[in-house]
């Protein structure tokens, strides 16, 4: 017997975030629920945090802080804007924001894919640890601060301080870079880089001319303590 695609609608005008999240946490493979729609998010915080189920979640409207935080497996889409720390510490699955994202999008993300179709604000991808991030618009200042692993594609511009003190994460910027942070440097794009960007844009379902992208990675001068630098970085 083939499973029937089942969609459940939850309305945050009738239920609390806690109740909605509990429902989401209780989802098991046996229920056969493949899609959950969440209505009237109204900027509430912490919607769909801590997911660990292979379902599609559609949040219709603007969400507040921590939307889809700590996500595993789930494919979450927010049709509006999100507040601070969307997809914070994402492990796997994907989170898509159709509008703009506030600060610290995908902060410390370990895996999965985070797509911001609009702009992402300050500190996007701060301390990222393996997540892939694709931003259709621009990113705010200090994005990719101390980023350890993973890739971030920015189709628009990057505000000052991009990649400050970064480790092994790599950034691709399609627009203007308004300033690099300490130890971040622009490097030539290799064929492998172009292939990375092409594949990430495809996964994100976004388009941008490939030849525009510049690669930013660590110069690795901060990896070892240098007494001569007198702490002047």
């Amino acid at each position: 017997m083939g499973s029937v695609m089942q969609t459940v609608k939850l309305d945050l005008q009738d239920q609390t975030v806690r109740e909605v999240n509990q429902f989401l946490h209780d989802l098991g493979p046996s229920e056969g629920i493949e899609q959950v729609e969440i209505l009237h998010p109204q900027g509430n915080h912490s919607i769909a945090v801590g997911m660990d189920a292979d379902v599609e979640i559609l949040i219709r409207g603007h969400a507040g802080y921590f939307a889809a935080g700590m996500n595993k497996q789930a494919r979450v889409t927010i049709t509006g804007n999100v507040g601070w720390s969307v997809a914070e510490n994402i492990m796997s699955g994907s989170v898509r924001v159709k509008g703009n994202a506030s600060q610290s999008a995908a902060a410390s993300g370990h895996g999965g894919l985070v797509v911001i179709e609009g702009n992402a604000s300050n500190r996007c991808g701060i301390s990222m640890k393996g997540v892939d991030i694709v931003v259709g618009g621009s990113v705010g200042h200090l994005s990719g601060f101390m980023a350890q692993a993973g890739r971030m594609v920015v189709c628009g511009d990057a505000d000052p301080g991009l990649g400050d003190s970064l480790y092994e994460a790599v950034f691709y910027v399609g627009g203007e870079i308004r300033g690099l942070g300490a130890d971040a440097r622009e490097e030539p794009m290799t064929d492998a880089d172009f292939a990375s960007v092409r594949s990430l844009l495809e996964h994100a379902d976004l388009k941008h001319p490939l030849e525009k992208f510049k690669r930013v990675a660590s110069a690795r001068t901060l990896y070892h303590w240098n007494t001569d630098a007198q702490q002047e970085y």
Partner: protein, 355 residues
């Protein structure tokens, strides 16, 4: 309370801990640790609320004149919702049509909720009747009152110091009225009937005190000079340096609050002839710390964030209004909020809207 929670937490860690679940709460950057532990029957939930500098700010400017009578009704849900960020005190400055040039509105505060305003008014009238004052009007609500008068603010202040030392002047100007008090913002909004206020623009604040006492005087908005007020989310690291500098210039302070220093600093610069945007450019150099500052004069609403933009702010603008808040959720109820142009102010950029 916090210590008890912490020791429970440690107990849980050393005991048979089955799960620790880090949960983001609805109050923004504060968080709660949910512990499910075999040691406790039934499962214990321990909330750890670290003292974070929260506070909420709200601002609303209504563009079409006929809609201004709705300002109070629209701002109260904004203000109440930001009570989650700042539950210990709150306040709001409302800007009305200016009085004739000869008159001032003076907002007054007294700690006694049963204060005898009629005898205050009688005392005022008998003192100033010889100077020909017949036009003074007093509107009181519990421990607040707004005096509209032709008597000069300096004369009123001198008389208050001599005769009614318990009274504080919260604001002076032709447009501004200020209400602020301790308690949950929703109680304050109800006490002073914010929902009935008709005004062109307002600036509100919900406080979670971190650096000075919780009193009505330490609550925001702060005012300096005439028709200028400021609310602040964040904390300054050099308020005493600023204060010493301004005191040498002859300025007087009413509290030890860091925001008062920023407010008086900006007003002092404006007094030297600078407009607010030039004063703010200097403030970027001289204020050290974290801040989102929302300011109002009789004809403008202005907003800035510090260089790191660690403290939040969201602006929603439509043809009818400019609404500013710490978080979008307090703007979601506004008409057409989901269609509004929504953006976050950039660090060290000055945003200003004319009434």
């Amino acid at each position: 309370m916090e210590n008890i929670s912490l020791s429970l937490f440690r107990g849980a860690l050393y005991g048979k801990l089955s799960t620790i679940y880090l949960e983001s709460s609805a109050s923004g950057t504060s968080f709660a640790l949910l512990l499910a532990c075999n040691q406790f029957e039934p499962c214990e939930t321990v909330y750890l609320e670290p003292r974070k500098q929260m506070c909420g700010i709200v601002g609303l400017l209504i563009k079409p004149k006929p809609l201004r009578k709705q300002l109070g009704r629209l701002m109260v849900p904004m203000f109440n919702s930001m009570g989650a960020r700042g539950p210990d005190s709150g306040g709001c400055a409302f800007f009305h049509e200016p009085t004739p040039a000869s008159q001032r509105r003076i907002s007054l505060l007294v700690s006694d909720r049963a204060y005898d305003w009629p005898s205050f008014e009688a005392g005022l009238r008998s003192t100033f009747s010889e100077t020909g004052d017949t036009a003074s009007q007093l509107e009181s609500t519990e421990n607040h009152a707004v005096l509209t008068t032709t008597i000069s603010p300096a004369e009123i202040q001198a008389w208050l110091s001599a005769e009614e030392p318990a009274l504080r002047v919260l604001s002076v100007g032709r447009s501004i009225e200020v209400f602020k008090d301790i308690g949950h913002p929703s109680e304050i909004a109800e006490r002073y009937h914010f929902s009935e206020v008709s005004a062109s623009h307002c600036v509100g604040h919900t406080r979670m005190a971190t650096e000075s006492a919780v009193t009505p005087e330490h609550s925001h908005p702060f005012t300096a000079g005439e028709d200028f007020c400021l609310v602040h989310n964040g904390s300054l690291s050099n308020p005493y340096m600023l204060r010493r500098k301004l005191e040498r210039e002859g300025l007087k302070f009413e509290t030890d609050n860091d925001t008062e220093a920023a407010c008086r600093y900006l007003q002092w610069r404006m007094q030297q002839g600078e407009d607010l945007s030039i004063a703010l450019e200097h403030a970027f150099e001289e204020l050290d710390g974290f801040y989102t500052l929302l300011m109002a004069t009789e004809d403008r609403l202005s907003l800035v964030r510090d260089a790191f933009a660690c403290k939040p702010a969201v602006v929603a603008e439509t043809d009818d209004y400019v609404a500013i808040s710490s978080e979008y959720r307090s703007l979601a109820h506004l008409p057409d909020a989901d269609q509004a142009e929504i953006f976050e102010p950039q660090p060290e950029e000055i945003y200003s809207w004319a009434v």
